[in-house]
């Protein structure tokens, strides 16, 4: 509570921008400090201290996303070395659930933002296209949790998925066309009709966070 009183204006500003309640921000702030060991910024190494994250097959990509400037500010690119609490909140706000009072336009924007986040995660070379190679990497990582699954099957799955994507996005291609990669527009097209409401939301509880850190 103390911190809330000390910087109420800043808090309100943050709350407005990210859509979190001040309570949630407070909890997240506490967590942030826990992770950063009371520093003002967080570095990649800090995420290593989360034990549960270790088993996540795509942890690298997720942690990376926190430092991806494209996710932090519009019109910027590159990779940040460290992020402050505001950035941390910005990333977290991608996972905010939909609110009841949102209108169609807001919902659409919300959805686009979320998908953009995912897209950036896939597009590791920042060229605005998920190429086959990038897709393969993601799928390989995704399936790496299953020790019985060979890398090659993962790859063939990625190929199949890419083909599917091409057929969805471009439809029937001329024989001489080559599908180079999934652009963000294609990505949106692929998600059409798929309900992401349940898929990309985390409920940020108002209760005390459980400390998992060492």
């Amino acid at each position: 509570m103390g911190s809330a009183h000390s910087v109420p204006a800043e808090m309100r500003e943050l709350a407005d921008r990210t859509g979190f309640t001040s309570e949630q921000i407070e909890h997240l702030h506490r967590r942030f400090k826990q992770l950063s060991r009371d520093q003002l910024t967080i570095r990649k190494e800090n995420f290593d201290s989360i034990p549960d994250l270790e088993f996540n097959p795509i942890r690298g990509k997720i942690v990376h996303a926190f430092f991806d400037k494209r996710n932090l500010r519009p019109e910027s690119d590159g990779l940040a070395d460290e992020i402050n609490f505001e950035d941390f909140l910005t990333i977290m706000s991608y996972f905010r659930p939909i609110e009841m009072n949102m209108d169609e336009e807001q919902l659409d924007r919300f959805r686009k933002e979320k998908l953009k986040f995912l897209f950036h995660m896939y597009d590791s070379d920042h060229d605005g296209k998920i190429t086959l190679q990038e897709y393969r990497n993601v799928v390989e990582e995704l399936l790496s949790g299953n020790p019985h699954l060979e890398k090659e099957s993962a790859r063939s799955i990625a190929d199949g998925a890419m083909m599917e994507a091409a057929s969805i996005c471009v439809g029937q291609m001329g024989p001489d066309q080559v599908y180079e990669g999934i652009t963000f527009e294609d990505f949106l097209k692929m998600w059409q009709g798929i309900d992401i409401e349940t898929k990309m939301h985390v409920r940020f509880l108002n209760m005390e966070t459980i400390a998992h850190c060492y």
Binding site: H27, R31, F47, I50, D52, L53, F55, N56, P57, I58, R59, I62, L118, T131, L132, Q133, V138, L142, L143, G145, N146, H148, L149, E150, K151, E152, S153, R155, S156, I157, D159, G160, A161, M162, M163, E164, A166, S167, Q172, P175, D176, Q177, V178, Y179, E180, W191, G193, E197, T198, K199, M200, H201, V202, R203, F204, L205, I210, A211, H212, C213
Partner: protein
Amino acid sequence: MRQVSGVGLLLGLMALPAALGQRSSGSPINSNQTQSFAIVSFKWEHVKEPYIITLWILVASLAKIVFHLSSKVTRVVPESALLIVLGLLLGGIVWAADHIASFTLTPNVFFFYLLPPIVLDAGYFMPNRLFFGNLGSILLYAVIGTIWNAATTGLSLYGVYQTGIMGHLNSGLLDFLLFGSLIAAVDPVAVLAVFEEVHVNEVLFIIVFGESLLNDAVTVVLYNVFESFVTISQENVTGIECVKGIVSFFVVSLGGTLVGVFFAFLLSLVSRFTKHVRIIEPGFVFIISYLSYLTAEMLSLSAILAITFCGICCQKYVKANISEQSSTTVRYTMKMLASGAETIIFMFLGISAVDPDIWTWNTAFILLTLVFISVYRVIGVVLQTWILNHYRMVQLEIIDQVVMSYGGLRGAVAFALVALLDDEKVRDKNLFVSTTIIVVFFTVIFQGLTIKPLVQWLKVKKTEHREPKLNEKLHGRAFDHILSAIEDISGQIGHNYLRDKWSNFDRKFLSKVLMRRSAQKSRDQILNVFHELNLKDAISYVAEGERRGSLAFIRSPSTDNMVNVDFSTPLPSTVESSVSYLLREKAGPVCLDMQALEQRRKSIRDTEDTVTHHTLQQYLYKPRQEHKHLYSRHEIMHSEDDKQDKEIFHRTMRKRLESFKSTKLGINRSKKLNKIHKRDRGQKRRNSSVIPNGKIPSENPLQDFTLKEKDLEFSESEENNDYETLHLGKGVDFLANVTKQNFTDTPNGDMDHDVEMTEYSSSDDQLNQNQSVSMTPLHFFPSCLQMPWTQNYSSLENRGNISLSSVSEYIASCDPNVPDLFWEADTDTNNKETANSGYGSEVSYKSENSQEENSLLIFEGLEDSYMKEPQEKKMLLDVQGNYRSAAARRVQSRRSFHRPKPLQHPKLQKLASLPASCHVPPHSLEQEETQL
């Protein structure tokens, strides 16, 4: 009309035996003197009971057929309502015939035989993720909601009774509460029956349906508690009894769940070891889950919960363990039993109502019950949803609440429970029974009828059935991981956190114990979707072939290029084990064709069709084997048809590959094939020691993957040797013909092919022109080398940073004798066929004349240049390197999409040198050879 006449017939049948039965019982006495052996005796009494039951089931099933004769009726009126009405009719007729209600739905039959299949079906096919995702809401509605309904309905009725509107009843508060508790529960059977036809969105469905399943525990406990309270009478109910009741709720519900989980574990474990008793494999599913039901019943726990959770928990492991056929069997049997039981339940509900003895009319009581259950349901739902929406991520909106309130159907469970009441203790039993029947009829018929228009009117979000998409699954998986990571990072224990931990635990321990090793491998859901898609594609492919009576569409390479993903992007390590490329190939053709299929349907090529049809008739559809007159109870013999189907399938797959290869390699390849085919007819095979498997490795992956299941069947060893030698030849001929066809098909640059050219679209014509430009120099290349070249060339174009020298290096690295090896395989099979070799090559030869001349020329040149290849290659490359017309680029990029690619030939080489373990299992290799 038909129904009625059917019923009349049935009644006649039933009346007849009754009359005959008397006579036959009398006859032995009369025939005492003779004591002769009766040739035919009529023993109606002997079979009476099962006979009547079977007849009833038959009537119900026939009725279903009749209902569905008119789709208009079933679209408007739910089947359950129709069945109840039919039951009423039948009951009326039976009653009119002999004035006794002989057939009623007895609680015993209902709880022991009719309910379990329905609930098991519900559990076994429960969408687990959805169920557990909404478990909190479901539990709230099931527990609190049911208690709320029971209490308010019972108390309100009692309150109204006190005012005296209902007149005099012999019931106290406890009787009313007892009645409230049995009428409160939403019925799984009714909900399923109605909601399955409505198709509301899955979240809504799972909440209503889950509630109806899980509220059983509450109902059972409330019912038992109040029944015992009624027995010991009001004065003796103490606080301790109430506490006992609450405790017993937890015991009953948790106990039932535990019993279910235990039996699910057992079932999964058993299913792991049924490999050699495939035939009875499906039986275990039913037997063990039924045991769970009976066990829970025996321990007076919630039997419905037990069998539900048995189904929910075992489904994953059982489905992974049992064979595809068994799982189909389980699916169908379960659906059949469930739907049969449902049919019977509703029909007998109708029949049971026709019994004047049970009817006690009390307008106020009945009407008020109807009003109370509806009103309190609405209030309950609204209150609980209000609470829930504070915690739910996906909010339940007002429309959802309306549907949920309206979907609170009561059904057979309530009826069976009320029929169980002891009329010694509950003196108003008959009133309760009649009210329950009215309530059930009202909810099932009236609400069932109106819920569909209501859902449409309110525009409730509906489920749309989507094809499984690979991308969707992949992204879904990514989301799961992201969400759990975000929860980890933000330090919360939420849904995703728990799910993540569970799936880790499952993978590490449970699956290891409960799943077959082979199943563990392929268990991944994404892989399943992938497999499913491939299989579906293959099936539709064969079906398409059968529909058209020809497999001509397989070889229309111009349509194969619907989706051009540039798979030629350089792989991270070109030195990677060649097996990986083999495996990688698996995916390609199948998926491609899926998308191309539509297009193919449109492209009609009549001439080809006739030719192929001819070929098929000649070779493929001939009965090729003697029927085996074998009977085995433990094995399902594959019928001739099956075999043929499989063979067609097999060949189709193979041919697709063939066609892919030919499009990949371009014209020269097919020319070469024919050429070599001719030349090598009598020639000994060379180098066969280098690649014992010939070209098979390049084929296998596809089969290996798409036919994972079928593999076993394909490698049936029953194929006898005579047959092999006899028909091998034809197979090869067939293939030869096909490749010949390919040749004519392939849009090539030769201008002689005006006829074929006209068939292509104008854009294709354009393309042909381009190709002819770009291809001409390539004619002097061995086709196999041409391929890698174009590959690399295009990749070069794409990336723009590979130097030409690296390309030529790469080509140089291709062993010059690779082409030889490659074709050796063909001669290999050729030599094997002893009987028909001449015939086959002749056929392919004759019809070839015009092209042959061209190719001969080319080939002469090719053979000559063969020796000095490296230099020439480089030279040509340089020429090509500068030859960067847009047209050429287009063509090359076009070719580049064909997938298996760059390393096709190096791969073959490597395969030969790989340890045997890296290969596909030997039997499948052999299979490859013998089949064609």
